[in-house]
Symmetry: C2
Subunit: 296 residues, 2 copies
């Protein structure tokens, strides 16, 4: 089997015509071959949505939550709704087509398609996930960076597309470069009026005693698929969980903090803007053991 | 000759290796064939830069200004500097390869390339420019939409990439949909603290008597290539020109206003948020006559 696989969907949304009438729902394409047309709005305008789904020991994790968020992102961008069944099948086909590894991921992308064609382009790409162990064991250093928006911008200015996992992610890459410049590993976005938002591709989780808190999605941040599973797990461990509006000070005051995401899972924060923060080793290990071995 | 042409660069930046050692600087590719790999950061993260250059009666217009801005955008994104000579040649080759038409355009795109490969991907695409005459003659209705950022965000938070013409343009598309919903044609971004910024893909120009003003590029907006030529033209017509920090009220108070961009050129604003605004027909025609017939 190959180490990577690429699946092209024939009809990413039932609200738009198929690309090839009567063709199968998806087909395998050589991953190294060009797939995207230069007039595709996905590349000319970053006009599309994506998900990155972890595969742990062969199990696709949080698939329904990812498919639901994919649809939500498409809705915010006013794109045709992804066909959940077609995408689920494509993700499973891609994941099943690669060499078995302990950790892999499948990335789904749906673009608005070629300008004027009104048919989204969609594919699923599967590959091994490498090099995440250090972040889980050693922790990560973060810097707080202003996203420039007020905390309520999703409500006041929906055209800014906050809360959508879109292909217009150049800023999410730029903040990583800024973090590296500041001798850190990752960035946590804060609102212009001083509230914690989310990581560059993750949610932030704080622990206060027996209580876990994370910022609410009314802040124009992504509903975390990993964070959702962590909350479910935490409740089984007797912890309280809550979504709150959290000022920046809450991160400094928390007993421990993590960035949660698919693939990297729970990365404990060991420094904030250069100030060391203690790592909760026991709970970090419990979280990652749970996350790595989820069977759905 | 075909109506469109696509040119792929072998070495978009001298700071990165060529794609194929010893190959020509560029080659023609079938425009309808897929060109972009699914791992190219241009499509996965909107991580790249672009320009759209007008071609009037066979003349490529403001080419040096476009190439300079392309490099400036790449710098803001911390990408390798585009090789100006290679890009100039690619634009000229693409423009020369299509059927002669009165109005055409060439779009240049440079992405960060395939993740981990450290070689930008670059191409130039030429096509006829159609359907812009109505905007010039009838004018356009605009709505003012909050960009969500303060006017000084370029200085305080450079990681937000304001002032770069990047491929992360999903918001610039979303504001057009919002404008249509409000029975308008285009949007003008304003800062969260109440200053005029720019159109969704244009600069805004105001006329007060014999004076033309436009917002300054220290506001995190694009330096307009068309606006630059318009200022040069205006000076030859005995007008004063200035870059200013303009409150929203200035648009309402101005004698006339335009959105300036390559391809569409000078589109007079005939309504702002539903309130009619008079069109300066004489100067609009003079501007577009000048812009359409530029020979460089």
């Amino acid at each position: 089997m190959p180490s990577t696989a690429l699946v092209l969907l024939n009809r990413p949304s039932l609200a738009a015509p198929a690309h090839v009438d009567g063709a199968p729902a998806h087909r395998f394409v050589e991953p190294d071959e060009p797939l995207v047309n230069v007039l595709d709005l996905g590349v000319t305008r970053g006009d599309g949505v994506f998900e990155t789904i972890s595969v742990g020991y062969g199990s696709i994790q949080a698939l329904d939550a990812h498919i639901a968020r994919f649809a939500k992102s498409a809705g915010i961008l006013e794109m045709p709704e992804p066909d959940a069944d077609a995408w689920r099948d494509a993700v499973q086909a891609a994941a099943a087509a690669i060499d078995p590894v302990d950790e892999a991921y499948v990335k789904t992308i749906m673009t608005r398609g070629i300008e004027g064609d009104d048919r989204p382009t969609g594919w699923a790409y599967a590959a091994p996930a490498l090099g995440r162990a250090t972040a889980r064991s050693e922790g990560i250093r973060v810097v707080l960076l202003d996203r420039g928006y007020r905390h309520d911008v999703r409500q006041t200015s929906p055209w800014l597309l906050q809360g959508a996992k879109s292909l217009s992610y150049a800023v999410n890459r730029a903040v990583i470069r800024e973090a590296h410049r500041r001798d850190a590993d990752d960035a946590v976005f804060v609102s212009s009026d001083g509230y914690l938002l989310e990581g560059s591709t993750s949610n932030i989780l704080l622990r206060f005693g027996d209580r876990l808190v994370t910022p609410g999605t009314n802040l124009g941040i992504l509903a975390g698929t990993t964070q959702g599973d962590v909350f479910d797990f935490a409740v089984t461990q007797g912890l309280e969980v809550a979504y709150e509006l959290l000022p920046i000070a809450a991160l400094h005051e928390a007993d421990a903090a993590w960035l949660l995401s698919s693939v990297r899972h729970a990365a404990p924060i060991r420094a904030v803007d250069g100030t060391p923060k203690p790592i909760d080793r026991t709970f970090t290990d419990a979280l990652n053991d749970f996350l790595l071995h989820r069977t759905k």
